[in-house]
């Protein structure tokens, strides 16, 4: 089987999310990578070095600068004439583009796969991860999004794929990019952080969130996450949200502070290796999944912890 993997990138750097997709694709067959962008040659070179990738297709065109799905999907659909499966990371980019490709190909997408059982059978989470479904597709071509935390990352060195230019990109005239607000941060990205310190509604305000959570994260070199309640309350921006419909994370250590542990939040972090919970409510559901729990007022315990690690 010949697979086509959508490379996640910002026109300069390939993102880690790509690597788990390469691993998933390699379980199906030959791995081709696809870079859609503008001025993205360096990304093509990085993708060519990824272990397991045999060919990199680079479509470099102004119309693809922001990977708008209206422009990306027709191009991918054309490339799928010579590929059997299209795999994208289950990121906001992948989730935006893949279903559009699937509909153009008249294929039912398999979202957010956790494992490849065989060439046509996969497992995927449903009901916020409270159930795992095994699904078999009857479509000849496959369109799949891949959960990054469920597959090992392919090595970024060791490959020597050929790089081929892809033509035919065009502006479909259905959408245009206006602007982007991307937070610049020295912190590790949530989906690749080894440690995550995450805050909930109990923090009470954005000032307290900053005052209590940030120093601990700084001390541990951790990424910062949040529950939906904290994001809805405006303590932190939307891209901090961990959960069913936010980011799915699985760090070595996840420290949940003032988070009660709604099933939607647990769906986003319960595959973390070690879960630590600090909450003053001893009946909070978060304690049912935590490896280490501390029943305490976070405003006392967290600064003390920051001082002692």
């Amino acid at each position: 089987m010949k697979t086509l993997v959508l490379v996640e990138h910002d026109n300069t750097e390939m993102k880690d999310a790509t690597l788990a997709v390469v691993t998933a694709a390699s379980q199906l067959g030959e791995v081709h990578a696809l870079v859609l962008g503008s001025g993205c040659a360096s990304v093509g070179e990085q993708a060519a070095k990824v272990a397991g990738v045999s060919t990199v297709h680079v479509a470099d065109d102004d119309s693809l600068a922001n990977q708008l799905p209206e422009n990306a999907a027709p191009l991918i659909a054309t490339l799928m004439e010579s590929h059997d499966a299209f795999l994208a990371p289950a990121t906001t980019t992948g989730k935006n583009i893949a279903p559009r490709v699937a509909a153009l190909l008249d294929v039912m997408q398999i979202s957010d796969i956790l494992s490849v059982e065989s060439a046509d059978t996969f497992t995927r989470p449903i009901y916020a991860g409270n159930a795992i479904a095994t699904v078999t597709t009857s479509d000849a071509k496959k369109v799949i999004t891949v959960r990054g935390t469920a597959f090992d990352k392919a090595a970024t060195e060791g490959g020597s794929a050929s790089v081929e230019a892809v033509g035919g990109a065009a502006d479909a005239g259905l959408s245009s990019f206006v602007s982007e607000e991307i937070a610049k941060s020295e912190r590790p990205e949530l989906t690749s952080a080894k440690i995550i310190v995450s805050g909930g509604r109990a923090l009470g305000s954005s000032e307290k969130f900053e005052e209590v959570i940030t120093p601990l994260a700084d001390k541990l070199g951790a990424g910062i996450g949040a529950s939906r309640a904290a994001v809805d309350a405006g303590y932190v921006p939307n891209d901090y949200q961990v959960g069913q419909t936010g980011k799915i994370v699985a760090p070595e250590v996840y420290i949940a502070i003032g988070i009660s542990g709604a099933i939607q939040h647990l769906a986003g972090m319960k595959d973390s290796k070690t879960i630590v919970a600090i909450n003053k409510d001893e009946d909070a559901p978060i304690f049912q999944v935590a490896d280490i729990g501390l029943v305490a007022d976070l405003f006392d315990a967290v600064p003390e912890l920051t001082g002692k690690v």
Binding site: N66, L68, P69, E70, A73, T92, K95, P99, R100, V101, A102, A103, V107, M108, Q109, S111, D112, P125, I126, Y127, N130, A131, I132, A133, T134, V135, T136, T137, S138, D139, G173, L174, S175, F177, V178, S179, E180, E181, I182, A183, I195, V231, D232, P237, N238, D239, K247, K270, I278, F287, D291, G293, L294, V295, A296, A301, E304, L305, K308, V309
Partner: protein, 248 residues
Amino acid sequence: MKILVPVKRVIDYNVKPRVKSDGTGVDLANVKMSMNPFDEISVEEAIRLKEAGKAEEIVAVSVGPQKAQETLRTALAMGADRAILVMTDEEVEPLGVAKILAKIVEEEAPKLVITGKQAIDDDSNQTGQMLAALLGWGQGTFANTVELDADSIEVKREIDGGLQTVKLPLPAVVTTDLRLNEPRYASLPNIMKAKKKPLDEKTPADYGVDISPRLTTTNVSEPPVRQAGEIVEDVDALVAKLKAVGAI
């Protein structure tokens, strides 16, 4: 301007789903069902656009069992003008739903479709994008804010790194994210009024599209259960534990 709002009847978001012991699915017998939370946000946004004088009519539509009528009545009670139920007891996959919706769009000619970014039962996150593809329209997914004009819409989208704004000529499809708005509760008088609003019943056959499933679910199982660990006494004990597992 007419707005079409597709909604889905799903397990209530407060209910913890239970997997059937025979591995055939999740037990939905005697379980509270509600409108998919993201679709509530879609209905709310359509109503706000109407209240702002930017839309005249809101048509809610659902593909599902007879009981999805209740979900549509909720949309009507919130403020939708009329509803269409495409009745089927079969489970229709996102691709099939998108095909039915595309036919309804042909008939109704809305300038805007607003629907939830994903349903909280199958967590697919596909229908809006697929509908946009089938119609050849632009898509503004995961909307955080929308700015509607007579012939275009600006959608500020929630993306992994922050926010992105795109502009789409109308007609277009928008899928909603959590922060777009906070849906209202239907008042009792409005619930009563909703009972008299028109609700058309159709079947998938009326639209002549192939909605036969492409996926077969062979097993549904519980995820591995995480055991609760240990409650420590104080911060010193927590630090010791963190050191013991090599976290610090």
